[in-house]
């Protein structure tokens, strides 16, 4: 139980690639925003308030949950970056929080961010599509904290948050989903605006703007006020199911109409990843997406499905530098990234 473990432990339980519908859905995340009733929000609060929040939440959780307290001030920039890349903390907490901290479970499936935009951000992660289960887990932790903490809550507006975009339930549920079929058949450009109409947000979580690296999208609820938690996750879940169905038909259609082109594309990408000596993030993501599709469709065997889930975390700049033991220039990172991917591919092949 130490900081080193969270930094060096390569994969979290939710990255394992199991879980329901894991051929399309990579992971599920639920986040609850909560604030203490009698302390100003982190927007304006003072150092003493911030410190008191950390102490109180640490006491409130220590009896029933075994969580490790990591204070941002004790971490190096690189260590913080690794935690960001593992989705355990946010860039905001890492870079500009006052007495920011995180309480993280051993499995890395629970992370309570303290003194981020709100006093508490209770975050639970699961592999595959597990909206209800993940919400239950977050609620369990929320109830436990509530036994000793008076939350800022208003009958009319619900849980009060620093930003009014989160007020009400304080709930942000999101699903990370791999949609190569819909991207290859050029359907995403039509689907994204349609989903936005339903009060949900779709974005590529890697890469900028509308271009999603590795064909990985994150879908989450936008509205937090005026709907119950159950309705929020049901609405999100039904859109995810619809997307999974469409992705499946797109894959079926591709196999039927362009079988040889698809197989060619997948094995070319496999060839690049197995042999490259330098690879940039963009290319690595694209090839990993192809290889993962190849595994899902049965073209590629003897390689674990979790390769995409794990490598998309491990091949990021922070991780690469952590393993190298110090800062790397972009070119050096490309070399390390290539080596990491080759190693990971051969590791599974000999298994």
């Amino acid at each position: 139980m130490s900081l080193e473990r969270f930094i060096n432990q390569q994969t979290s339980s939710w990255m394992s690639g199991g879980g329901p519908y894991s051929d399309v859905v990579l992971s599920t995340r639920v986040r609850l925003a909560r604030n203490f009733s009698d302390v100003c929000f982190p927007t304006v609060f003072q150092f003493d308030d911030a410190k008191q929040i950390v102490e109180q939440i640490n006491t409130a959780t220590s009896k029933k949950l075994s969580l490790e307290l990591l204070k941002m001030e004790d971490l190096s920039p690189l260590q913080k970056r690794v935690l960001v890349e593992k989705h355990l903390i946010s860039p905001l907490l890492a870079e500009s929080s006052l007495y920011g901290a995180a309480l993280i479970s051993e499995q890395e499936d629970i992370s309570i961010m303290v003194n981020e935009e709100d006093h508490l951000r209770i975050q639970c992660l699961s592999s595959g599509l597990q909206l209800q289960e993940t919400l239950n887990e977050a609620n369990r932790i929320d109830d436990m904290i509530e036994e000793s903490v008076q939350y800022a809550f208003d009958e009319k507006r619900g849980y009060l948050t620093a930003c009014p975009t989160n007020v009400g339930t304080g709930l942000r549920a999101s699903v990370m989903i791999h949609l190569p079929g819909l991207v290859l058949t050029r359907q995403m450009n039509r689907i994204i605006p349609a989903i936005s109409q339903l009060g949900l947000v779709v974005r590529g979580i890697y890469g900028e703007g509308s271009e999603a690296l590795g064909n990985i999208f994150q879908i989450s609820n936008q509205l937090t006020l005026g709907k119950s938690e159950a309705d929020i996750i049901n609405d999100l879940g039904s859109v995810v199911h619809e997307l999974m169905m469409r992705e499946q038909s797109a894959r079926d259609a591709l196999v039927k109409t362009s079988h040889i082109q698809l197989e060619d594309r997948i094995f070319r990408s496999f060839g690049v990843l197995s042999n490259c000596r330098m690879v940039e993030t963009n290319e690595a993501f694209q090839c990993l997406s192809d290889v993962r599709l190849g595994i899902d469709l049965g073209y590629i065997q003897h390689i674990s499905k979790s390769i995409l889930n794990e490598l998309m975390i491990l091949m990021q700049p922070g991780f690469l530098q952590q393993y190298a033991g110090g800062p790397l220039r972009a070119e050096e990172r490309d070399v390390r990234r290539a080596a990491l991917i080759r190693e990971r591919l051969t590791m599974k092949e000999t298994n």
Binding site: N35, S37, V39, C40, F41, P42, T43, V44, V84, H87, S90, P91, L92, E95, S96, E117, N139, D142, D143, E146, Q150, Y151, A152, F153, D154, E155, K156, R157, G158, Y159, L160, A162, C163, P164, T165, V167, G168, T169, L171, G199, I205, Y206, G207, E208, L213, L223, L225, G226, K227, S228, E229, D231, E280, T281, Q316, P317, G318, R329, A330, R333
Partner: protein, 177 residues
């Protein structure tokens, strides 16, 4: 200008980062900007959302003119946040801000939450004794109306009994709270 990440290539892109209303300018070369893209802009809405929010609020002439005419004196007495500052940052200073700016908040919440302004979700157990009962009462009354509309009068009588029971509990709670 040299890239702040690799300190090698000339900076080709510049970003404005806004955190808690503080602006920071950062400069990257194209390669590093791409590498850093996920770290800076993925995962957290602070960068895009704040801009979106300020745009959302200030595009509403009603708010800006209102806020301007009232000047600085409109503020939360607990944390001294002004409404003007809130419009700039998109963030409140404390829980009391929601009460202090209540009248101006309703139209903003409507825009952010698809027309909704009232919480329908979870209620903290600790504070919510009476609230839970009120919610139950509300649901029972809805059931009752439905049953009467569908002429299920026997079931309706049962529900009416339940309503009386909850009302009784609620009067006890109300005295205590």
């Amino acid at each position: 200008m040299i890239c702040q990440e690799c300190h090698e290539r000339p900076a080709a892109l510049h970003f404005t980062k806004i955190v808690n209303g503080e602006k920071t300018e950062v400069y990257f070369c194209e390669k590093c900007a791409h590498e850093k893209g996920e770290y800076l802009f993925g995962g957290h809405p602070a960068f895009s959302l704040n801009n979106l929010l300020s745009g959302l609020f200030s595009s509403e002439p009603l708010f800006s003119s209102n806020a301007a005419s009232h000047g600085e004196d409109e503020h939360c007495e607990k944390c001294h946040m002004t409404f003007q500052k809130f419009l700039q940052t998109g963030k409140f200073g404390c829980a009391h801000c929601y009460t202090a700016f209540d009248s101006k908040l309703t139209p903003i919440l409507k825009r952010l939450h698809g027309g909704n302004t009232r919480h329908q979700g979870k209620i903290p157990k600790r504070m919510g004794g009476a609230l839970h009962l009120q919610k139950e009462l509300h649901l029972l009354r809805e059931q009752l109306n439905e049953m009467i509309a569908n002429e299920h009068f026997e079931k309706a009588a049962d529900v009416r009994d339940q309503i009386r029971e909850v009302e009784h509990k609620l009067s006890g709670e109300g005295g205590g709270a």
